[in-house]
């Protein structure tokens, strides 16, 4: 008797479980995974990109979600470490995400690909700039939609050619990315037959850049290229440039577009030109700025735009795929053409032509100039 009752109970329980399971599938959200760096060296970049992604998901849900389902963003912290990044990717795959976005360091994103390649999970980075991310591993499930490092160099060089600089100085820092950026700039300058008359390093933790800038002053260049990526050290350089009375055009890499400069380098910025992928005059940017301000209660800037565009590109692919089936989503993502986002110059768009998996328009970056202490107008477009 007891046994019969027990088996009946078991049956009933099983039935309830099945019912519960079907009910959740019907309204199960579409999960997107995001791997960020909350405590490591990429934090100053990864945090705002993540904010942009969070905002994009809120906007999607406010407009009814995706394929009639709510969108849920699962955020993992990899501390900028490749090993943890791969573990985070594994965890997200186990949570059944439809797509993974990586916004941490380039090496971490590379390592996370080992998981997404094996599990055939769609994976992209909206912000990493490493040139070899899509070529180092043959992973058809991975895309890169931020501008490549080589694109920012080509854009700034095209501006320098326009200005006909012949003798230039390079100054960088001793961070990995700073050294890498400097190496690429140097190679490109040499290829363009522009003479490098001074090359200096201001190491992380310096308290002054005076000796380095004295050497630059002595070399008397026609322009100074800043290839470092550490904001405090770059501020030191600008302070020394001003202190030592160097009258030379300063050309900043992408890092100079970080709006924090308007706080810490106040009074030092006027006339400095810098590469950016954000054109405030673009209609998409205006809509984004307004929406972000309302929803997140803060003024957005370029880095927020990367996270936003990343989520929107993924949403577009899932919408066209009509499901979260990994193969269908992969095909849809690869078929992306002419997607106009927040980032990129007016007239540029994202797309993966000719089987490439880098989606940013090579002529989509701009050169802008600081006017007073504000990031001002666009003075040059593209890398032609």
């Amino acid at each position: 008797m007891t046994r019969r009752l027990l088996s009946m109970l078991k049956l009933a329980l099983a039935g309830m479980l099945v019912a519960a399971a079907t009910a959740t599938t019907a309204q199960e959200p579409i999960r997107l995974g995001l791997i960020t760096d909350r405590v490591g060296p990429a934090k100053p970049y990864a945090d705002p990109v993540t904010q942009g992604a969070v905002y994009a998901v809120r906007e999607l849900n406010a407009k009814g979600g995706l394929l009639g389902r709510r969108v849920e963003l699962l955020i993992e912290d990899d501390q900028g470490r490749p090993d943890i990044s791969a573990t985070a990717a594994r965890k997200l795959v186990d949570a059944n995400v439809a797509f993974i976005l990586s916004v941490s360091l380039t090496p971490a994103t590379l390592q996370a690909q080992s998981v997404t390649k094996e599990t055939r999970t769609p994976h992209m980075t909206p912000s990493n700039s490493g040139d070899t991310l899509t070529t180092a591993i043959d992973n058809p499930n991975f895309w890169q939609t931020g501008p490549l490092g080589s694109t920012q160099i080509a854009t700034l060089l095209s501006y320098a050619r326009e200005k006909k600089f012949q003798r230039v100085a390079l100054v960088t820092d001793n961070s990995d990315l700073g050294q890498l950026t400097n190496r690429f700039f140097k190679a490109a300058l040499e290829k363009a037959n522009i003479q490098i008359v001074a090359e200096e390093v201001v190491p992380r933790g310096s308290t002054t850049a005076d000796p380095q800038m004295q050497k630059v002053r002595a070399a008397n260049p026609e322009a100074l290229f800043m290839t470092g990526v550490l904001t405090p050290e770059n501020t030191l350089i600008l302070r020394s440039v001003r202190q030592l009375g160097l009258r030379v055009p300063v050309l900043g890499n992408y890092n100079m577009s970080v709006p924090q400069y308007t706080q810490v380098a106040r009074g030092l910025l006027d006339g400095i030109v810098f590469v950016d992928a954000f054109d405030p005059a673009k209609p998409e940017v205006k809509a984004f700025v307004e929406g972000f301000r309302k929803e997140m209660g803060a003024e957005p800037y370029n880095l927020n735009g990367y996270g936003y565009d990343g989520v929107m590109l993924v949403a577009d692919a899932i919408r066209r795929a009509g499901s979260t089936d990994k193969d269908k989503v992969r095909e849809a993502m690869q078929a992306t053409r002419g997607f106009v986002g927040v980032m990129g110059a007016v007239g540029s768009s994202y797309g993966f032509a000719d089987g490439r998996r880098t989606g940013f328009d090579p002529n989509g970056m701009v050169v802008r100039v600081y006017e007073g202490d504000q990031q001002g107008r666009v003075v040059h477009v593209g890398a032609r």
Partner: protein
């Protein structure tokens, strides 16, 4: 020549910052034997103090600086109470407080990174960002201000140790803790004071350097390393050693970058070579402690 003198001012200012950090180490090592690598984070905390009181609240410079310095003394005192004293009272081995303070280094840094975010923040200089030219000698206002404040601090520290009874109790504890305790010197009071003074001096270094480097959560560790190198060069025996060590280190750094024919990436290795040479050849530093006087 103009370049040379300009660089002398710049290197002196940097050397003074290193010297203050070295003095912060020294004030704690002398009476307690504890090497506190968190001095760099104390400088960082004070940098953010400068951001809050001098930039955000926009207090007058002297008042803001006084508030920050007072808060730093409190931070030093509390750090000792919470991390060092319980270990000493429980009879932990001498390495334990050093490790506990390394833990505090991480705590300070992460608290700031969570509280203020990863971006650098501005801290205003004492007298503006202008440039002072005295004949061929030229440098920023802040450089001259740093040098003046540092000399005053070192003069005060020297007078304290050489001319006051409280200073003599520090010296006595440094020479022989047990004997000093037997003479009725309150060891725990000396320890508390040492940590409060160390944090104050490290904090001064932070507020002084922050207008140049801006306050950011990663600024502590390089200062801690440079200050420690300066201490090794100068020796832990006497306060003048910290000043001498800081200046030698900064001059070596900046003159190598400016004049030595080495590739730019290698110049930053020179101070480390200096550290190794001193550890090998003269591990007690340039200035030795005086012998116990009778």
């Amino acid at each position: 020549m103009g370049d040379f003198l300009e660089l002398v001012v710049s290197a002196s200012a940097t050397g003074c910052i290193y010297a203050l950090v070295a003095l912060a180490y020294l004030l704690i090592i002398r009476p307690t034997g504890v090497i506190n690598f968190a001095v760099g984070e104390w400088a960082m905390l004070a940098g953010f103090g400068g951001f809050v009181f001098l930039f955000t609240l926009n207090l007058p410079y002297a008042l803001g600086m006084a508030v920050v310095v007072a808060l730093m003394a409190l931070v030093g005192w509390v750090t000792e109470r919470l991390t060092v004293r319980p270990l000493v009272e429980k009879g932990a081995p001498p390495l334990a407080p050093i490790l506990a303070l390394l833990g505090m280094l991480v705590v300070f840094r992460e608290v700031v990174s969570l509280g203020f975010g990863p971006d650098p923040q501005p801290v205003p200089p004492a007298l503006g960002h202008g440039r002072l030219e005295l004949g061929p000698v030229a440098g920023s206002y802040q450089s001259f201000f740093i040098i003046a404040v540092t000399l005053a601090v070192f003069a005060a520290a020297w007078a304290f140790f050489e001319r006051t009874l409280a200073g003599k109790t520090f010296e006595a504890v440094a020479i022989d803790r047990r004997a000093a305790a037997l003479m009725g010197i309150n060891l725990s009071r000396v320890t508390s004071l040492a940590f409060a003074a160390g944090a104050t001096v490290a904090g001064l270094a932070g507020v002084l350097v922050a207008p140049n480097v801006s306050a950011h959560w990663m600024m502590g560790l390089p200062l801690a390393i440079q200050g420690f190198t300066a201490l090794v060069i100068g020796g832990v025996g006497r306060v003048e050693g910290a000043l001498l060590g800081g200046l030698i280190l900064a001059f070596a750094e900046q003159f190598t970058v400016r004049y030595a024919p080495v590739p730019p990436g290698l110049a930053m290795g020179v101070p480390l070579v200096l550290l190794i040479v001193f550890l090998l050849v003269r591990p007690t530093g340039l200035l030795r402690a005086r012998e116990a006087r009778t």
